[in-house]
Amino acid sequence: MALIWDGIVTAFALVFGGDAEVWSITWLSLKVSGLATLISLVVGIPLGILLAMTRFPGRSLAVASVNTGMGLPPVVVGLFVSIFLWRSGPLGFLDLMYSPSAIVIAQVVIAFPIVAGLTLTSFQTLNPNLGLQLLGIGASKPQLLWLLCKEARLPLLAAVMAGFGGVISEVGASMMVGGNIRGQTRVLTTATVLEAGKGNFDLAIALGLILLALSFAVNFLLTHIQQREQIRWPKPS
C-alpha cells in the first residue's frame, strides 16, 4: 500500500513540481498519439464510408481485413513497421527508425482499422434511404457525405475515442520502433515499462497515473460532446 501511496505522492510532485522530463515525455506522448489519431481519422473515416456505401468485388474480404485489423497486437505491428523502416528494409532510405515519426507510423497502423471499422458500423446504422432523401432535396455528393457524417457523429466520436485510446495506451510498437530513447522517443508507456523494470515503482506509478489522467481527460471531453445529444429513454411505468 505504501508503494502505491508513494507513487501517488511522487506523481503529484512530478506534475505540479514541473519536472521537465516528465512534461516532455507527456507532451511527446500527446503529440505522437494525437497526430497518429488524426491521420487515422483522415484515412479511416473515408475507408469506413467507402466500405459502408459501396459494393465491389472483394468488399467482404476488405471488411474482414479491417475487422481483423481492429485487434492487431501492437507488438506485431511494431515488428512489421521495424522491418519496413530498418536500414536495409524497403523504407530504410527514409531513415525514420527510432524517431517519433516511426512511432506515429506504427500507431496509425494500429488505429486506422479501429477508426475504419467503427465508421463502417456507424454508417451501416444509418437508414440507406436517408442519402436518397438528401439528394432529393438538392444535396451535392460532398454535401451528402458531410450530412451523413454529421448524422453519424455520435458513433463517429466513439471511433475517435477508441482510436486515441488504442494508441495512447500501446507500448509494444512504440518500444520497438521508437527505441525508448531518452529525450527523443520516450513516451509515457515506454517510460513506465522502463522505470518499473528498474524497480522505480514510485516513478512508474506516477507515469502510469499521468497516462491514465491524460486518457481520461481526452475521453471525458469527447464523451461530453457525444452525450450532449443523448436520447432520453422513457422511464418504464
Partner: protein
C-alpha cells in the same frame, strides 16, 4: 396542350436480370398533377426516382425543361425539384433546421431562409414545433416537416412517393386535405405516387396506371377511372365487375351483349360476335327490391356476401355464373333490409358499362 416540363423516353431500369421499369414515353406537363397508381412492386417508386434524377436508368433519356439530364447538369436540375418520400427521414436536429435544410444546401443566407420557411411552417401547422427535435414528433408531424422542407424550395417539380401511406387514417385525411389546397394554390407541377386509388382520384388531374414496370394507361383522371384501357387497368382503378360477353347486335349506338347470366345493353357499336369484357364500376350498380327483371339491364341476383365499411356496404352478387360487385350507402342498405342469400334486382345504365374490346 401545356408544355412538357419533364419528358421520359424509352426508359428501361434493370436490377440484375429483371426489368423493373420499361416505359416508352411519358411527359409531365407544366402545372399538372399526375397521380401514378398501381399495386406494390409495379415500379412506381423506381419511376419517381428516375424522374427525380435520383436513379440513372439502364437505358433511355430524361429531359427536364427540354434539356437532357447528364452528369454535368444533374445537380442543377435536381435543385429545381423536390422529393417527399413515404418514410420521412429527417436529420437529428430541430424541425426548423430540417425544414431549412434544402435552402441551406443551396447556400441561401439566414434571413432569406427564415423568410421562406416561416410561411410554410405556419401553412403546415408546425410553426409551434419549430424548435422541437424531430425525434420527438409524431408520424404526421414528421411528414409535415418533410413537406415544408420540400415546398420551401419552391420547386418546379414536386415528387411525392406515397407520402401518406404510413399515416393513420385521421392524420392522412387532414394532411391530404391540406396538400390538396396547397397544390391548388401554388400550382406546382406534381407527380404523386400512391397505391390508393381514392388519393389518386382526389389529387390527380391526370392518372397513370402501372403494373409490372409498365405504364398501362395514362389520361385524365375521370377517363382512366371510367374507361380503363384493359382488364388489368380496370382491376387497379376499381371497376370490380368484369364479365366476358359476346356482342349480338347493334342498333342506334347501343349493342346487346350475351353473358353468362343474361343479356345486357351497352352504348357503342360492336361487330356481332365480338368477344369483349364488360366493366362496371360498383357505384354504378343500383339495387332495388322491385321485381322488374323484364326491363333492359335489370337482373335478379343472389347476394353472396355483404362487406360493411364505414361509408358503404360492398355486396358481392351472383348473376347466372357471373359475379357483380355493388356499393350501396348505409341508408340504402338499411332501406333494402337485405341479408346474405337473398335475391334482389340489380340494374345499371347502358352508358355505365365500359366495354373493353374491339369496337
Amino acid at each position: 396542350m401545356a408544355e412538357a416540363l419533364l419528358s421520359l423516353s424509352d426508359i428501361v431500369v434493370r436490377h440484375g436480370d429483371s426489368t423493373v421499369l420499361h416505359l416508352s414515353r411519358l411527359e409531365i406537363r407544366r402545372g399538372e398533377i399526375l397521380a401514378i397508381i398501381g399495386p406494390n412492386g409495379a415500379g412506381k417508386s423506381t419511376l419517381l426516382r428516375v424522374m427525380g434524377l435520383l436513379q440513372q436508368p439502364s437505358e433511355g433519356k430524361v429531359l427536364f425543361q427540354s434539356e437532357e439530364a447528364r452528369r454535368e447538369n444533374v445537380l442543377l436540375m435536381r435543385r429545381r425539384m423536390a422529393s417527399v418520400f413515404q418514410e420521412p427521414l429527417l436529420l437529428n436536429a430541430s424541425v426548423y433546421e430540417n425544414a431549412a435544410l434544402g435552402l441551406n444546401l443551396r447556400g441561401l443566407d439566414r434571413a432569406e431562409i427564415r423568410r421562406r420557411i416561416t410561411p410554410w411552417l405556419e401553412r403546415l401547422s408546425i410553426a409551434h414545433l419549430s424548435s422541437r427535435r424531430v425525434r420527438t414528433l409524431s408520424g404526421g408531424e414528421l411528414q409535415r416537416t418533410s413537406l415544408a422542407r420540400a415546398l420551401a424550395l419552391d420547386p418546379d417539380l414536386l415528387l411525392l412517393d406515397e407520402p401518406f401511406s404510413a399515416l393513420d387514417p385521421t392524420t392522412r385525411e387532414s394532411l391530404l386535405g391540406d396538400l390538396q389546397d396547397i397544390l391548388k394554390q401554388t400550382g406546382v407541377t406534381t407527380v404523386f405516387v400512391t397505391h390508393d386509388r381514392h388519393e389518386a382520384f382526389m389529387l390527380g388531374s391526370r392518372v397513370g396506371v402501372m403494373r409490372e414496370g409498365k405504364l398501362l394507361q395514362v389520361g385524365p383522371s375521370l377517363e382512366v377511372f371510367t374507361r380503363p384501357a384493359d382488364e388489368s387497368v380496370a382491376e387497379i382503378v376499381g371497376a370490380d365487375t368484369r364479365i366476358p360477353a359476346v356482342a349480338e347486335r347493334s342498333n342506334d349506338g347501343v349493342t346487346r351483349f350475351r353473358f353468362d347470366g343474361g343479356v345486357a345493353e351497352a352504348t357503342g357499336a360492336f361487330t356481332s360476335g365480338a368477344r369483349v369484357i364488360f366493366c362496371i364500376r360498383p357505384e354504378e350498380i343500383i339495387l332495388s327490391a322491385a321485381r322488374d327483371r323484364e326491363k333492359p339491364n335489370h337482373f335478379t341476383v343472389k347476394i353472396l356476401k355483404i362487406i360493411p365499411s364505414t361509408l358503404h356496404y360492398r355486396l358481392l352478387l351472383q348473376c347466372g355464373d357471373s359475379r357483380l360487385s355493388a356499393l350501396v350507402t348505409r341508408s340504402s342498405f338499411m332501406d333494402l333490409g337485405i341479408k346474405e342469400g337473398d335475391d334482389i334486382t340489380a340494374s345499371f345504365e347502358a352508358a355505365a358499362v365500359h366495354v373493353i374490346g374491339k369496337e
